[in-house]
């Protein structure tokens, strides 16, 4: 078997795949954050908890109600998205006119409460969630072994991200959303129901987080802290990509996952910090982020 730069290809491609998997979650989560920040001007610190809720709802569906993975893939985002709508209507709406900082504190507090409740109920050791039977096993691609479920996660994430991008950038609904993001007062003065758009957007962003949670459930164990661990990296991704840019969030998410994976191969010591080092460099050179527009 050939070697690349002294690295066995199995190890290299294995890490590339792992990087793509992580990148998939970075992309979906930072996409949701970007959509929410664009319209609500809120940095949604509850996002990690909502991703965790997505995984837990899938677990509950299976263990309490016998609802399988595929149904949970639809049901869990709907349920968690609905809780997001309640949060927006009863909490976020009340602080919409205040400084960013209040939204940050409120959503951070909510995340702590939600994580605490789940930890109380389910402990923090993690619950297993089986890979759906249709996606067990894998493909031998010659240069590497590709587990079917991991391939599915990468493809599903790409489709979800591109579909979201398409709706926002190419449809009438997306035009309303972009208009309301840019100038809510005028958009409302054209007869468009901006408050409803805000509520639905938050619900959608939260549903995206939950969807990522369901995708993650069979890979990582279902754990009350799974979101808290991930969300810090996702915020770094968002800072690098630039707040509010849709394509920026997607491209940055996947690329940083890959870079992280490659760092594990070539310089494992830096694997945990490489994203933060890139964040610092980007902030030094382009404070608005790679795809962000300067305020």
């Amino acid at each position: 078997m050939f070697e690349l730069l002294g690295i066995p290809p199995q190890a290299l491609f294995g890490q590339v795949l792992l990087g793509l998997i992580n990148g998939s979650f970075y992309a979906i989560l930072s996409l949701g954050l970007a959509v929410i920040f664009g319209l609500l001007n809120i940095i949604n610190f509850t996002h990690g908890a909502q991703y965790m809720m997505g995984a837990f709802v899938a677990w509950m569906c299976l263990n309490y109600l016998g609802i399988n993975y595929w149904a949970a893939l639809v049901l869990s985002p709907l349920v968690v998205g609905a809780t997001g709508i309640v949060i927006e209507r009863f909490l976020l709406k009340r602080i919409a006119h205040l400084d960013h900082l209040y939204g940050l504190l409120l959503t951070f507090g909510l995340a702590l409460i939600i994580q605490g409740l789940f930890r109380n109920q389910y402990g923090s050791s993690g619950l297993p969630y089986q890979i759906p039977p249709q996606l067990t096993g894998g493909q031998n691609l010659g240069f590497m072994f590709l587990p079917n479920y991991r391939g599915w996660v990468v493809i599903a994430s790409l489709v979800i991200c591109l579909a979201t991008w398409f709706v926002i950038e190419k449809t009438k609904l997306g035009a309303y959303l972009r208009a309301a993001t840019e100038n809510p007062t005028l958009t409302q003065a054209f007869g468009i129901n901006v408050p409803l758009l805000v509520t639905l957007t938050y619900g959608f962003g939260v549903a995206l987080a939950a969807l990522a949670g369901v995708l993650a459930a069979p890979i990582y164990s279902v754990n009350p802290n799974m979101g808290a661990d991930l969300i810090i990296v996702v915020f770094a991704v968002v800072v690098i990509g630039g707040m509010g840019s849709i394509m920026g969030a997607i491209v940055t998410g996947f690329s940083l996952g890959l870079i992280e994976g490659l760092t594990k191969v070539f310089y494992p010591e830096a694997a945990a910090t490489v994203i933060f080092i890139i964040m610092v460099l980007v902030l030094l050179v382009k404070p608005a982020g790679l795809f962000g527009r300067p305020a």
Binding site: K172, R178, A179, E182, N183, L186, G191
Partner: protein, 246 residues
Amino acid sequence: MLTEATAVNPAVATAPLLQVRGLEAWYGESHVLHGIDFDVAPGEVVTLLGRNGAGKTTTLKSIIGIMAKRKGSVVMAGTETIQLPSRAIARLGVGYVPEERGIYSSLNVEENLMLPPQVKPGGLSVDEIFTLFPNLKERIKSQGTKLSGGEQQMLAIGRILRTGANLLLFDEPTEGLAPVIIDQIGRTIAQLKSRGFTIILVEQNFRFAATVADRHYVVEQGKVIDMIPNAELDNNIDKLHGYLGV
């Protein structure tokens, strides 16, 4: 006597499309409008004239409902709107062209044009809008804010003609534009009037206002202090110069 009175003030002849009474408005703590009163009859073009800071723009913003703090009475086609959110006022058939034009940079020309939802039947078709403003058709895929100032103004006017709104609020449509574009906008307003649109025009350029309007309301310190029919403008020119400080 009666016919004479209606001839002098056409607003009395028919029920007004818009009736404004005792309109007050605030920016935060700053009290800007102190009781604005005026009427606009269906099919009329009226202007609000006055010095900078007199409250003309604020009056338009209060009519469309984007002034958060306002009171008094604004009746649009029989519906009291003072408590309504702007989206509900727009749906009564009010189209708004803001002073800064409000072209969205994240939307292309076509998306800008098609953004405002239809609120009533009877709006212009997209083809009719392109006939009025051929430039827009050529630049349909351009980013909204890549247009010239004149083209942006045409887009800002064009997009509310589609919606079926019959009361149009134009805030300084000629500001900062070349004379040839101002002429084009003047012709457009005349065409819109002949199609039965009702228009309230805020203008600094009263020479332009005189070419398109039926009546002029003079606003000073948040109040309407005078009304001059366009036909009597020449007789009142000295008085008007005094009001406007020119």
